[in-house]
Symmetry: C2
Subunit: 142 residues, 2 copies
DNA sequence: GTATGTGCAAAGCTTTTGCACCCGC
DNA sequence: GCGGGTGCAAAAGCTTTGCACATAC
């Protein structure tokens, strides 16, 4: 149901160079949230000529085309994810750094309601939950 | 119900230098969300000898003591706010950059429920809404 | 008096950019 | 072929840090 990133690039009329195709492919295969340096490492594994400057330029371009979305986990590095995948928020496991994606329609609705109450039309939001794995039942002393 | 920042610094056993006191006072008087450079400008207006390095060191120290909380509006600059003030989230006016603080108990409860459903105990969260002012002439009942 | 804080400037990190060369269309 | 893309390295922002000096307790 979701087109590849490369396909959407072509539909946007972007010139598809070898580097852009490689970066698009790498992004398609991401199941995690790599930062730009990591993205560059993965792209360079396929084509060592790709420079990090190109990766920066490319993700910014894709973002401007609405193909990617920038996310920020507060660690000072930019991350990008496929904008076309269903919208979701993030829960970050504070013990491992693992990122869990989730969608909650109630939250979405509530956010819209809050914005409206404050006199605004909601255009976007960012929400991250930070948590630790719940003790299932062996615990004493929470 | 809220002590001044300077008072909390003393209670934390921090050595209170002139610079720290000035920075604490500036923070107490903030009704907005200045970045570190702006904080330095306000502090330097009272004591021109304060360097920006000291401001950076001081806000980080206060954060480690739990007196301040770092917030990030995605513009690449760090901002800090009083951690003891009642918890709130932010709505950012996309047309002006103005930041509106709000609290919504429903959201808080929902977030906790979501974390729990995913097997986590919620330890913190970050939520920013981005919106544009709503046209008022068609609104009813505000 | 001593441990700690501070100013200055240099360095660190992530990201951007100028410029000469390269490539998709 | 031409206009835009790329690599390299330098530069730009924000933040941190080494070092010599200053200051709180």
């Amino acid at each position: 149901m979701t087109d590849t990133i490369a396909k959407r690039c072509e539909e946007s009329g972007l010139r598809m160079t070898g580097q852009r195709r490689t970066i698009a492919d790498v992004l398609d295969q991401c199941r995690d949230h790599p930062d730009v340096e990591e993205l560059h490492a993965r792209a360079a594994a396929r084509d060592p000529r790709i420079s990090i400057a190109t990766v920066y330029r490319t993700v910014k371009l894709f973002e401007e085309e609405g193909i990617l979305e920038k996310v920020d986990f507060g660690d000072g590095r930019a991350r990008y994810e496929d904008a076309e995948r269903a919208h979701h928020d993030h829960l970050i496991d504070m013990t491992t750094g693992r990122v869990i994606e989730f969608v909650d329609p109630e939250i979405e609705a509530l956010q819209e309601k809050i914005a409206e109450k404050l006199g605004y039309t909601l255009k976007g939001h960012r929400m991250e939950l930070y948590g630790i794995p719940r003790k299932t039942h062996e615990s004493r002393g929470d």
